[in-house]
């Protein structure tokens, strides 16, 4: 789908003010010792809109909260605050009332070995979502649908009888994608779907995911840490750091010139194949999420930081055709 039509269409997925906090009130011992509560805001106010047929990449390093966003959006975790809506209906109502929209969203995980039941033939795993949602209840209809799904992902109908360990890693991820497709979803949340695969196999899976997107008009929320994959797959990109989105916009705008220093740092850190990177490597490490820096969380590693960065959390603001959360986004090159 082209950028223009994608922008006109109503969002199929809308995330507003999403927060997810971990860690409970301190226990008795901690209270007696006057230890402060250790609460981690894994996700701290995230807004996202995904339109039909588009791919939004959610990018960041370990601990930035991208997988927590994915799990909240897929309904696997409840947000501490904020809403997740599919076609205008909240996830809460969809789940509680078992609304038909439940079939509209599916998820593909990084490790297909742990997301498929090792004791089930894969055909049974592929059919399970349809049975749970009452879609293809007849035995013959379900079998026919499984055969169709297997051929859509480049496997043979006979493979339905095999067990996960009889497949290679790439083939197992194909099975996981077939299962996600089984309910004819409109959105697939993909959490690092190719990170565990060899590059030659990754290319096969990414190409197949693009083909499936075109054929079925799927929207992908694509969680990854690999900017090469982002540039290949995404229409729009959201960069996360310590629970917040720090830059969001079209792939073209962000890759042409990042406007947040963290995006810049990530792009510079990707090991290039054609030349040895000159200059110093990135500074520092991710701060303790339970004890984040005041103001902008990235300021402790930021070569652009000034005193004002410690004062306030910079909001996402329009700059140069995308939004960035940086006081100096106009200067970042």
């Amino acid at each position: 789908m082209t950028e223009v039509t994608a922008q006109r269409a109503e969002p199929i997925l809308e995330v507003a003010g999403l927060r997810r906090t971990y860690g409970d009130a301190p226990g008795m011992l901690a209270r007696m010792l006057r230890q402060p509560a250790r609460r981690v805001r894994a996700v701290d106010g995230v807004d996202l809109r995904l339109r039909p047929g588009e791919t939004m990449a959610l990018v960041g390093e370990s601990g930035c909260g991208k997988s927590t966003v994915a799990r909240c959006v897929a309904g696997l975790e409840s947000p501490s605050a904020g809403t997740v809506r599919y076609s205008g209906e909240t996830m809460e109502r969809i789940a509680r009332r078992a609304l038909p929209a439940r079939k509209d969203v599916q998820m593909v995980f990084q490790d297909p070995y742990s997301s498929l039941n090792p004791r089930w033939p894969v055909g049974r795993s592929i059919a399970e979502p349809m049975q749970v949602l009452g879609l293809e209840t007849g035995r013959d209809a379900a079998q026919a649908r499984v055969a169709e799904l297997l051929s859509q992902v480049g496997l043979a109908p006979e493979d339905a009888e095999k067990f996960p360990h009889q497949f290679s890693g790439g083939q197992r991820q194909r099975v996981a994608i077939a299962r996600a497709l089984s309910t004819r979803p409109k959105v697939i949340i993909c959490d690092e779907p190719t990170s565990a695969l060899d590059v030659s196999v990754q290319a096969q899976i990414l190409n197949m995911m693009k083909d499936l997107q075109e054929e079925y008009g799927l929207a992908y929320l694509f969680i990854t840490h690999d900017l090469g994959v982002v540039d290949h797959m995404a229409d729009r990109v959201a960069i996360m750091y310590l629970g917040r989105i720090v830059e969001i916009g079209s792939r073209e705008a962000i890759f042409a010139r990042p406007r947040h220093p963290y995006t810049r740092m990530l792009m510079d850190a990707v090991p290039r194949l054609d030349e040895v990177t000159a200059g110093a490597p990135p500074l520092g490490e991710l701060p303790d999420p339970a004890n984040p820096p005041s103001g902008c969380a990235f300021r402790t590693r930021c070569p652009w930081a000034i005193a004002a960065c410690a004062e306030t959390v910079p909001p996402l603001e329009e700059v140069d055709g995308r939004r960035a959360a940086c006081l100096r986004s106009g200067e970042v090159a």
């Binding site: 290319a203 540039d231 194949l273």
Partner: protein, 339 residues
């Protein structure tokens, strides 16, 4: 002592090798026979130079390293090959003598720093113990050396950090500690197996910079085993590309990556999604690497190769071509560059 056969495919301008491997063969013992895992692998490590050993899962890159450092365990067996450290053959040494060489003369770094560190001892205790085992330093001198090593690997406030436990370190800092431990015995040779694979890109860039600086400064003869062509490009001086247990191409890293001669290397390079080079579809290799025991006849890559002819199924090609950049292919990609 028999004369060591020089490798035809290497420039010998950089002085004699510190570690030489010739004709390494590792097999897997199975009921009634053997399956080849690594076949006819030869390479040299020179002082101050980093050799990358790259391949996809199952290519035999880690097994090659483990066979050299004496870490193979049944049912994997080194069935042929010579390994020389300086003038000494070390391939026939028993476990105790190899254990003595590991740590002192050959150090190793693995992917997961948590398994290399003991969770119940402080980082200082572990460093001091390693220093005492491999050097003459004792007491305060050993502790001073431990602090100096932490400082060398870029750990700030080294004095305070000595008394902390591994869990109090971040992932990137732990891998720095593992590097400090590897350096504690002042080794000549360093084997690093996927040392940055568990790390985020920003931390990976830091560890690569540290690894390069230390290898070059301390004139270590280093091997870096990885699946990541980006890490190869950034960290290594020379590279050996492995496929199905064999080295299929080797040479200076910049040459191999810019002008791969083996069709596998070329296809692999093209299949990597790169920033700024969006394709509608990624050029992809069909299928996957064959499993041991299920190799096609002749060249193991022939069933996935777009240049294969009948000849490729008849014989296993040897490394041939320019001495500085040989490839094991009957039809190398010499008429075209990758980009």
């Amino acid at each position: 002592m028999t004369e060591l056969k020089p490798l035809t495919h290497q420039e010998d301008s950089d002085g004699p090798p510190i570690l030489s491997v010739r004709g390494l063969q590792v097999d897997l013992r199975v009921p009634g026979g053997w399956l080849p895992i690594v076949s006819d692998v030869s390479f040299d490590l020179r002082a101050g130079e980093i050799l990358g050993i790259v391949g996809e899962s199952g290519a035999g890159k880690s097994m090659s390293g483990n066979a050299v450092t004496g870490l193979l365990r049944e049912p994997l067996v080194r069935r042929a090959g010579e390994v020389r450290l300086g003038e000494t053959r070390i391939d026939g040494l028993g476990d105790r003598r190899m254990a003595d060489i590991r740590g002192r003369r050959i150090a190793m770094i693995f992917q997961d720093p948590l398994t290399a560190l003991n969770p119940v001892f402080t980082v200082g205790d572990q460093l001091v113990e390693t220093i005492r085992r491999h050097t003459a330093l004792r007491g305060a001198a050993a502790r001073d050396r431990a602090r100096e090593l932490l400082h060398q690997v870029g750990i700030p406030a080294a004095e305070d950090r000595l008394d902390q436990y591994p869990h109090e370190y971040s992932g990137g800092m732990r891998q720095r500690v593992v590097i400090a431990l590897a350096l504690a015995g002042e080794p000549e040779v360093l084997f690093a197996d996927e040392p940055t694979t568990a790390l985020d890109v920003s931390i990976q860039a830091q560890i690569i910079a540290l690894f390069k600086r230390l290898c070059h400064e301390k004139r270590l003869a280093a091997a870096l085993v990885t699946h990541d062509m980006g890490v190869i490009a950034q960290a290594t001086d020379r590279v050996a590309v492995m496929y199905a247990g064999r080295i299929v191409e080797t040479g200076r890293t910049a040459d191999v990556l810019a002008r791969p001669r083996h069709p596998y290397t070329r296809a692999l390079m093209r299949s990597i999604p790169r920033i700024g080079e969006r394709h509608e579809r990624l050029p992809q290799l069909q299928g996957s690497m064959p499993r041991p025991g299920a190799l096609p006849d002749g060249c193991a890559f022939s069933d996935r190769c777009d240049r294969a002819t009948a000849q490729c199924s008849r014989a296993v090609p040897e490394l041939t071509g320019p001495a500085a950049h040989p490839a094991a292919c009957f039809h190398p990609c010499d008429e075209e560059a990758v980009q």
